[in-house]
């Protein structure tokens, strides 16, 4: 039985992700680690309209009947939990960040907020960019050092101690990418305002 307090967190973050335009109607998935258990969105459920029965609980390492209903990305979530300190994961499709991931190996924010919070976001690439062990391994390795990582052409995976925190990194990345896009559209010389800014690219 999943605590009502936990369901409330899923419902709120799921709704916010949809309303922020960071997922399609049925896209994205979010999860929490509870001890040696994982609670993850049901496959095919809408994050923006989560009901209590849309949350699936299964083992972190061990399979049980929960896996028959779990999100396609369960493997990635489990791998990340086992290999990083994450206690919550938000996977979404922030469209501006996805667009930038098509042409860059890393996203280095130019705005103050994201420079402050994220420094740099690596882009990892995988032929089968959904639900495969290869993808899960690459993501988990990157998330050992970074709190949010882009999967090229697919979306972001952010980790945190809470869903709230992982959502924070996700929305910060998308906001930052929108600013980068606008700055490119304005197409005027960039005036560096950050001291030691070269450090961000080496983060």
């Amino acid at each position: 039985m999943i605590d009502e307090r936990i369901y409330e967190q899923f419902k709120e973050i799921g709704r916010d992700l949809y309303e922020a335009g960071m997922i399609s109607s049925h896209g994205g998935n979010i999860s929490m680690r509870l001890g040696d258990r994982v609670v993850i969105k049901r496959r095919g459920a809408q994050l923006g309209r989560l009901k209590p029965h849309d949350l699936i609980e299964t083992g972190l390492e061990k399979n049980d009947s929960g896996v028959t209903l779990a999100s396609t990305e369960l493997l990635a979530h489990r791998t990340i939990y086992m290999q990083t300190p994450a206690l919550a994961i938000v996977h979404c499709h922030p469209r501006t960040a996805v667009a930038f991931s098509l042409s860059r190996d890393e996203l280095v924010p130019i705005d103050n907020e994201a420079s402050y919070l994220l420094k740099k976001v690596p882009v990892v690439a995988e032929e089968f960019a959904s639900g495969t062990p290869e993808m899960a391994t690459k993501l988990a390795a990157a998330l050992q050092s970074y709190k949010i990582v882009m999967l090229r052409g697919h979306g972001s995976f952010a980790i945190g101690q809470t869903l709230d925190e992982a959502f924070h990194w996700s929305s910060t990345l998308e906001e930052s990418c929108q600013i980068m896009l606008m700055a490119k559209l304005i197409n005027e010389p960039f005036i560096e305002y950050r001291k030691m800014a070269e450090g961000y690219g080496k983060w």
Partner: protein, 600 residues
């Protein structure tokens, strides 16, 4: 500058029985695995002190250890730790402290100092560039901490003194080791171990500096860390303006401030003993440890005394826990603890236990909740083991057992609990019960998540899933204690900064997750140490009052600690079996393969 990154590469070994001193190289594989401070201390203690050793016998050792960040100039990199077997709890113990001594010891060119054996007469140790000497301390024996420190020539960041006071000499199980006058390696009674060795003090003077492999990256980390510490209201405003005692009103407001030996969880006199009251009436100035931009240290003054403190935990222990709302009396009790060399949390909470025993008519004493006038005298009596003080000197559990009421000791594994009521902060209760050195808030703290919203607020009454947060924060605390830096830095700066600073200093790439894994390794090794000492699942518990007596009023009204389900989940999430023993799979995952047999 030392050519190695972070570590100095040397261990100093002093045998007080034989008078021999020697140096040997630091095992670098061990250092990479356990870093320094608490981690390295626990690893070395495993080899040095087995279950057959009495904590107060010459066979116990004191392991003073710096970490790879100590002395580098990274924010709050002033800290060091001492590891030993605790006389208070019988568990593995490390206590750590700030100030200047740790940085200065590292400048002597060593990462670790091991003190073993027992001197025939009181001695003090002097470690200088010219060499190491064991000197006569007979004239210093019996002197209080301030006089000892002054006599031995404490001089800011040039010459630093660490010593015990009368409490350590008299083997009080609550005795602290004091450094730089008023800083303390407080919890678990390390001062008694030092006293049992007839070692009054250790004086250090050094000239060396730890190496930093990637200077550019390190400078960037200094810059970014400073930026975050300045941006956080906690580290740039609350702690500098009010000190740690700023938490008094915060914790009281949520109904998690233990009051009158945990009979209640809110204190009507909290405002009078708060950070705001201290700043308004008694504050002389702020002060800071070496390389610390936060500066949470208070220097306070009453009609009778002037000195550092009190910290939040101290003001709570002598305040709310004793039902005392007289801040001047608390400041003076704190000062007396510093002079005697006593842990303020254990001392205050033991007095509170005595107050309850006396109110019940079990203890023949005039002690009563609210008797501020008795505090200072009681602390002094404990330090000198005088009168009833002799009965209190070994902590609340031994005292309460003597009077047939061990349940009135608010302790876990014999260590007095700090200032957060587990009934109002469920995760904190699990954290206390599973803390490897006994009930302690420095082995991780749920204050951030359950009260302050750091990094984000979680429900403090939630039980399901709480183990995950507790484990993560225990692991983070273990690695911070191994670096060694101050945990307050973590209130404004996330662990990823520490990992990058560590990588820049050592030249070894530590991804954030891998660095936190070091903390997990340390935690598991400490657990194995305690299991070897005979501790078991039954010891992972809380006082019956917190498990059975609901909070009578306030925001936590009606709550008890729901420890059992959290503990069950905790063991599984830790990768331990149902008895709390690390599984071979978990040990192998942590690179602790050699310990699989010991765990069986």
């Amino acid at each position: 500058m030392n050519q190695m990154g972070g570590w100095m590469g040397k261990i100093l070994d002093v045998n007080l029985t034989t008078g021999e001193t020697s140096e040997r190289p630091l095992d670098m594989d061990m250092a990479r695995q356990f870093l320094g401070g608490r981690g390295l201390g626990a690893r070395m203690l495993w080899d040095e002190v087995g279950p057959e050793v009495d904590p107060l016998s010459p066979e116990n050792v004191l392991i003073f250890a710096c970490g790879p960040l100590t002395g580098t100039g990274y924010q709050t990199s002033n800290r060091f730790s001492v590891s030993t077997k605790s006389p208070l709890t019988g568990t593995v113990l490390d206590a750590n402290s700030g100030g200047f001594w740790g940085m200065q010891f590292k400048k002597t060119g060593h990462d670790v100092l091991i003190v073993r054996g027992k001197a025939e007469q009181p001695v003090y140790l002097e470690i200088k560039p010219e060499g190491v000497t064991i000197n006569d301390a007979v004239p210093l024996w019996g002197k209080v901490v301030s006089e000892t420190t002054r006599t031995l020539g404490q001089n800011n960041n040039k010459r630093n003194v660490l010593c015990v006071g009368p409490a350590g000499e008299r083997l009080s199980h609550m005795a602290a080791i004091m450094n730089d006058g008023e800083r303390s390696l407080a919890r678990g009674g390390p001062g008694a171990v030092m006293g049992s060795k007839n070692l009054k003090a250790i004086v250090v003077e050094g000239k060396e500096r730890p190496g930093i492999v990637d200077q550019d990256k390190f400078k960037f980390m200094l810059y970014e860390t400073r930026k975050l510490l300045r941006a956080s209201p906690l580290t740039s405003q609350a702690l500098p303006e009010f000190g740690t005692i700023v938490m008094m009103n915060v914790v009281n407001n949520v109904g998690a401030l233990p009051t009158r030996n945990h009979r209640q969880a809110q204190f009507e006199g909290a405002e009078a003993i708060s950070g705001e009251a201290l700043t308004e009436k008694y504050l002389v100035k702020n002060s800071a440890c070496w390389a610390c931009p936060i500066g949470c240290t208070r220097v306070s003054k009453t009609d009778k005394v002037e000195g550092e403190g009190p910290e939040f935990e101290t003001a709570w222990a002598f305040g709310a826990q004793c039902g005392v709302d007289d801040l001047a009396a608390i400041i003076e009790a704190n000062h007396m603890c510093n002079e005697m060399g006593l842990d303020t949390i254990s001392t205050g909470s033991t007095i509170a236990c005595a107050m309850e025993l006396a109110e019940m008519g079990l203890l023949d004493s005039e002690l009563r909740f609210g008797r501020a006038d008795l505090l200072v005298k009681m602390v002094e009596d404990i330090g000198y083991r005088r009168d009833i003080g002799a009965e209190l000197a070994d902590g609340s559990l031994r005292l309460a057992k003597r009077y047939g009421r061990p349940d009135l000791s608010m302790s876990s594994k014999g260590m007095e609990l700090p200032a957060y009521d587990p009934r109002g902060m469920q995760g904190q209760g699990l954290l206390y019960a599973t803390s490897n050195r006994g009930g302690c808030h420095m082995r991780g703290n749920m204050l951030g998540l359950e009260v302050l919203g750091l990094p984000k607020l979680i429900d403090r009454f939630q039980v399901q899933g709480k183990s995950s947060y507790v484990i993560l924060h225990q692991n983070i605390a273990a690695v911070i204690d191994s670096l060694v830096i101050c945990k307050f830095t973590n209130m404004g700066v996330a662990e990823e900064y520490f990992a990058r600073a560590l990588s820049a200093v050592t030249g070894i790439h530590y991804p954030t997750g891998e660095m936190i894994r070091v903390g997990e390794r340390v935690y598991n090794l400490e657990r194995l140490y305690n299991l070897r000492e005979g501790f078991a699942k039954a010891d992972d518990t809380l006082p019956p009052r917190l498990l059975n007596e609901p909070v009578p009023d306030g925001p936590s009204k009606g709550w008890v600690s729901k420890l059992e389900p959290m503990l069950k989940e905790y063991y599984r999430a830790r990768g331990w079996d149902e008895n709390g023993v690390p599984t071979p799979h978990k040990l192998a995952e942590l690179g602790l393969d050699k310990w699989v047999e010991a765990a069986q």
